[in-house]
Assembly symmetry: C2
Homo-oligomer: 411 residues x 2
């Protein structure tokens, strides 16, 4: 295989006519699947070519794993140097390939429901130590089920979208009255998002971790922007709410599970053993190297402030989906599951400013000499990631970027 | 006005052809707005008649309050006995009116995001007393902001849809290992849902309580089914999750704010006074009488187990929307805001079994002699409500009903 580099599916780049199309990234290029939908002639897809004509990936996601694999095989074949279909048809090639730089990216699916988990044991432990104690760092339920909560779908935005520092209520002095004003502790969270695929399930239907294999479509990078001071005041007893719904950024290219196969690694050891509905036999953990860059608005220097890895997660995404559905909650293709902040066990692998600067007690020094406890106005946060296979294969996720804008004064 | 009884908007009753149409309830009948869309000839709607041709109400909701009022005026005029347009056109009348009994009801909008609040001071106090103490019943934040959390959109179902008792993890013995099995403490929650209208807002935009007037489309009855034992084990620290996503029932007819005007009453007194973004000058509380019936699967007898009122809510829905958006979260027409369990200050007005039977310590006696601490398999829960105006006007919400099915055994 020479020309096909990675199988990343995306959508929504308006070319000449501001149309949104589904596409696949090939190096600097995007292959426009709308233009070549007629070439998906395999037994499963030949009657389903319309899914590539849509603006979003939901219909394609709503097919089955064998459909996704056939699409991947067709693409690999079309892009092979020995295949003449695209190669020798100049007119089609002209229409089918778009430079990435000329395309505007969009959120690749209608996200019916977004759920965010809390699946890094290092992150949960760090936060527990900070806000409770080392002895009671993990809540009693944490090792029995993937703790999660429902998030806000409307405010999931594509990489590049600026995020505005919010106003909200905080409690600067314990026991005193709360304060209303701009957030003072803005943070990022290094996460990965997973898109759910397969036909919708019915209310009352469960998807066990074992059954979830056919339901995991692919992954993106995700920044779960968090207003820490607002979160702390509002979150009892019903969980984070407005501290998180101000914006969640995702990278535009979905890397499918098939593409990630070379990067599969052992699952994180789990003790106690999980209940049967959370058990699965296969490895479903991935060696995805993740980095976070911070660029101050005041200088061009970029500091890599975090080096983490998806493999540090305690719970797999199949277990997350099993938890999501155990009470019979129905799922739809295009649902998004967030991993939770992905922290490793070393201080440079912590996936949030809260942990990196340890609640403001250990400020981070940037390469230009500035210091950070939390994110400042004008800072750009960039998540980057690539899956690394044993055989040297490197499957890139691109980046998930956002700049923090100053708060809009309250009238 | 003789023939027009209430202005309830709904959608989605497949008539002959299983098509989903938007309609308005008139006594035993439904007026099919798809069929009479050409009659909306007012200055605002004459170019927007297509919104009545859609399957869901989102596009109509996405217009503005003046559009909604014009639609209401047009309907009132068309239904007035002195108006001949519909009255004298037999063919159109035949097509335009469908018997409610012949229609299948559906969820009236695509609910992009669903948020559930916790706005009854009596409910929050009751739960606080049960799980903490009388002295610390209300959390410190409760009187400063309408506490809420993001819920699950996919599992919102229309009245009549059965709900299945879920499996899940619980902690029967404090400090011991958790247990996996069927929920043993199934509950209902008497709530009202509010559909958000108006054009979508941008990320970063705030809607203050004062501005929210133009954003409140209308109300439905809502049963937020809750698995109490599952909730108790899972909810720290990120809030309720699978204990609530097993199903949320709503009544099909949306009663608009305009229709509720005669039932407006004083807002609940708030002390301390709310922050500016939560303040609004006008009355936006409603005298909506609410009742909950329980019918055992073993007998035909129906027991009214709760008599409550929407007016008992401490926070208004305008304040809820202001809180939802204070950090810049964008909203979309069709978003649903749940009130939280609506309990009054007397034991017969408590809006959940948890409170009515006081955590199982005071079982409820049904008219057929049975007792209940929580809901049993086969029980049918029916919420009913009507707004009562000072002038004797009575605006019905119909009912929100669901039967609890036994859990599906786990294989």
């Amino acid at each position: 295989m020479k020309s096909f580099i990675e199988y990343s599916v995306d959508t929504d780049f308006p070319i000449q006519n501001n149309e949104k199309h589904i596409g696949v990234a090939i190096g600097e290029w995007i292959l426009d699947l709308n233009v070549i939908s007629h070439l998906f002639n395999g037994p499963l897809l030949k009657d389903k070519q319309n899914v590539f004509k849509e603006e979003k990936l939901n219909s394609f996601m709503g097919l089955t794993k064998p459909h996704w694999i056939e699409a991947r095989n067709t693409l690999q074949s079309l892009l092979d140097v020995s295949n003449t279909t695209l190669h020798n048809d100049n007119e089609l090639r002209q229409k089918a390939f778009v430079k990435q730089i000329d395309a505007k990216m969009h959120v690749p699916a209608d996200i019916g429901d977004y759920t965010d988990f809390y699946s890094s044991i290092h992150h949960a432990t760090n936060v527990g130590i900070m806000f409770r104690s080392k002895e009671n760092a993990l809540m009693p339920n944490w090792k029995y089920l993937p703790v999660g909560y429902h998030g806000r779908s409307s405010s999931i935005v594509i990489s590049g979208t600026p995020i505005r520092r919010p106003y909200g209520q905080t409690l600067p002095v314990e026991g005193a009255d709360p304060f209303f004003g701009p957030c003072r502790l803005m943070d990022f969270e290094l996460e990965m998002g997973c898109f759910v695929g397969g036909p919708p399930t019915e209310l009352g239907e469960r998807v066990t971790a074992q059954q979830a294999t056919d339901r995991i479509f692919g992954f993106v990078l995700m920044n779960d922007w968090s207003a820490r001071d607002i979160q702390k005041w509002e979150y009892v007893p019903l969980g984070p709410f407005t501290a998180k719904n101000l914006g969640t950024s995702i990278s535009p290219w979905i890397v499918t599970v098939e593409a990630l196969r070379p990067a599969i690694v052992d699952n994180y050891p789990q003790d106690p053993p999980p209940f049967s509905y959370l058990k699965h036999d296969d490895k479903f953990n991935f060696n995805i190297k993740l980095e976070v860059d911070l660029k101050s608005g005041k200088s061009p220097a970029v500091t890599t402030i975090c080096r983490s890895n998806y493999r540090f997660l305690y719970w797999t995404v199949k277990q997350q989906l099993a938890q999501q559905t155990i009470t019979g909650c129905n799922i739809r293709p295009g649902d998004l599951l967030g991993s939770g902040t992905i922290s490793g066990d070393t201080p440079d692998s912590y996936g949030s400013m809260l942990e990196l600067a340890w609640r403001g007690t250990k400020p981070i020094r940037l390469v230009d000499g500035e210091e950070r406890k939390f994110i400042q106005d004008g800072d750009t946060i960039t998540l980057r990631g690539y899956a690394a296979g044993l055989d040297g294969v490197r499957i890139g996720f691109g980046k998930c970027e956002g700049t923090l804008l100053p708060a809009t004064p309250f009238e």
